[in-house]
Point group: C2
Chain length 339, copies 2
């Protein structure tokens, strides 16, 4: 009998999540029956959007339930298969993260078949990339920038959270598309990394006066803003937006732990006079672009045009700390937990 250690939600966080909000439990994993596979996870993802699922409220995905194992993106390896088309050693992507192993019928790997299932073979790529640059964060960057932001060559693109799993891909795709890129991050080291991958202007928002820094970097304003942060960053983006700019709203991590509503952008009225488009999106609505994304991204990686960092924490017991680390800037690039 195989056992699996899993992380459960013990209590709903108020403010920043802490270890006390999580339980660790070990369960038996059922042997796979006919048509089922046994999967051992090799990497699991922690993503900012998971914070939203810890509130008990209606949203585009149902809330996590107290006492149950959490869910999230993971890459695992099949260790036993009784399902046609799946063999031991195959890598699969699923939403069964936050646990070491599980048994499933492949059709049930996730509710979003476009995004999950057996993974393509990309030479020289560590499997963790499939929860990062080649996975949901990469696809999020790709569809948010290209479908919502619609950058043209010569445009100026501003991305917040530029050193994160999504932002770092946004910044580099924008460069591939011929844009000038302004990216913000929370440390000098992250800014150095951004410059090393070709970002034109890297801004450490902790240096203060974000508006002045962005104005200095983009004196003629910005055409596209890719928002991972919200709050002051969004207000600054509206302020420096040029006529007809597109603001792709991917996330607002600065507000996920708020216990009271934060003030909205005081300059929202500029949306009218500048003909701005502020548009939110959820990657699961763009699963039809996954194949095109994987083809483009694998090509860019092979050409050395996309680079990425991972911050790796080791062992399932580290998952709560990895998740909490998203909110204090622990990670450069994709935060992953190695199982």
């Amino acid at each position: 009998m195989i056992t699996s250690t899993e992380i459960r939600l013990k209590s709903r966080p108020v403010g920043v999540p802490t270890a006390a909000n999580f339980d660790v439990a070990t369960v038996d994993v059922p042997a796979p029956g006919a048509g089922e596979v046994l999967v051992r996870n090799r990497y699991m993802s922690v993503d900012p959007y998971m914070r939203g699922r810890m509130y008990d409220r209606p949203s585009y995905v149902p809330p996590f339930q107290i006492g149950e194992a959490l869910q999230g993106h993971a890459v695992g390896e099949i260790v036993e298969s009784h399902a046609e088309g799946f063999a031991p050693g195959d890598l699969v992507s699923s939403m069964f993260g936050w646990r070491e192993a599980f048994t499933v019928a492949p059709a049930n790997l996730a509710a979003m078949p476009d995004l999950f299932g057996k993974l393509p073979h990309v030479p020289g790529i560590n499997p963790s990339a499939f929860i990062g640059v080649l996975g949901m964060p990469g696809l999020t960057a790709y569809v948010g920038l290209l479908e919502i932001g619609q950058p043209k060559a010569g445009d100026t693109v501003f991305v917040s959270g530029g050193a994160g799993a999504v932002g770092s891909v946004v910044a580099q795709i924008a460069k591939i598309k011929g844009c000038t890129v302004v990216a913000s991050a929370g440390s000098a080291e992250k800014c150095d990394w951004l410059r090393s991958v070709g970002v034109d202007h890297a801004i450490n928002y902790k240096d203060g006066n974000l508006l002045a820094q962005v104005q200095a970097a983009a004196p003629k304003g910005i055409d596209v803003y890719f928002d991972n942060v919200g709050g002051e960053h969004l207000e600054v983006a509206i302020e420096v937006a040029r006529q007809g700019a597109r603001l792709a709203e991917c996330g607002m991590i600065s507000q996920y732990n708020d216990t009271a509503p934060a003030p909205g952008p005081r300059n929202i009225i500029m949306v009218v006079g500048k003909s701005l488009k502020i548009q939110g999106f959820i990657v699961s609505n763009f699963g039809h672009l996954r194949a095109q994304f994987v083809a483009d991204m694998a090509g860019w990686i092979a050409e050395g045009r996309i680079r990425w960092e991972e911050t790796v924490m080791d062992g399932i017991a580290q998952a709560p700390a990895a998740f909490a680390g998203l909110f204090d800037g622990t990670n450069t690039g994709k935060m992953v937990v190695k199982l």
Copy 2:
């Protein structure tokens, strides 16, 4: 020699405009030379957006200058013509409002040739309609609702300022397109009028708790919001918006006289989870749709499917009061000044 009384900006308003911000002056109108026409205005428009031009700041149109005649939409009649294709009695639309008469070469009637110039003949229509339902406010409603809001039959459309020049047209086009319409206005009389033109749910926002009123009117939420008001109305619209809703940002009259930035919508984070699109627009970017608009609108009027109210003030000297009246709800439908 013909004289013209005109209204000039005397000082930039702080807060709500008053008579003290305006000067009245009478000037001689030059006789038309070769290629020119002499126009006597019959109706001039006052529109909320003019408040923005009274601030000294960069925008999509230049600010009004102290000591100079104001500008704005007007319908006039040619009284003398030395220009080919223009004859006495022809009606022309121009941006030379806030004055009784002027001389011009027709090519210079305005900087936006798609929107201005010789007016089409629409049977049974008073010329004032060309600064209202058949003019810029009507086109604003048409492009904002149809191009930005993209309503489908069966959608629920919420429009603020529903009894105004733009909102009243939005509400009726939405009904023509098969939508359920919720409209807000500031008096019981305006709400009665809205119901009389087929609006499903008319809300008097002065009755309090706007959110509860809109939720009661649209328990399943809204698919399109057409914003003329901003502030609390926008926050409520975001709150009740359904997945993928479109928010057409036409104006935010509640904020035009603010002397300090108003707080933005505290629920702006919902843009992400609901995949909302909040998009501002300026009618002058949609001049290419004017011919299609006039054809559609003239047809709907002939079929009795579009009705409108005008609030008429008499004489150029009333123009400042008519303008100020926009901000305290004096008008039902289009506010016009008869000259």
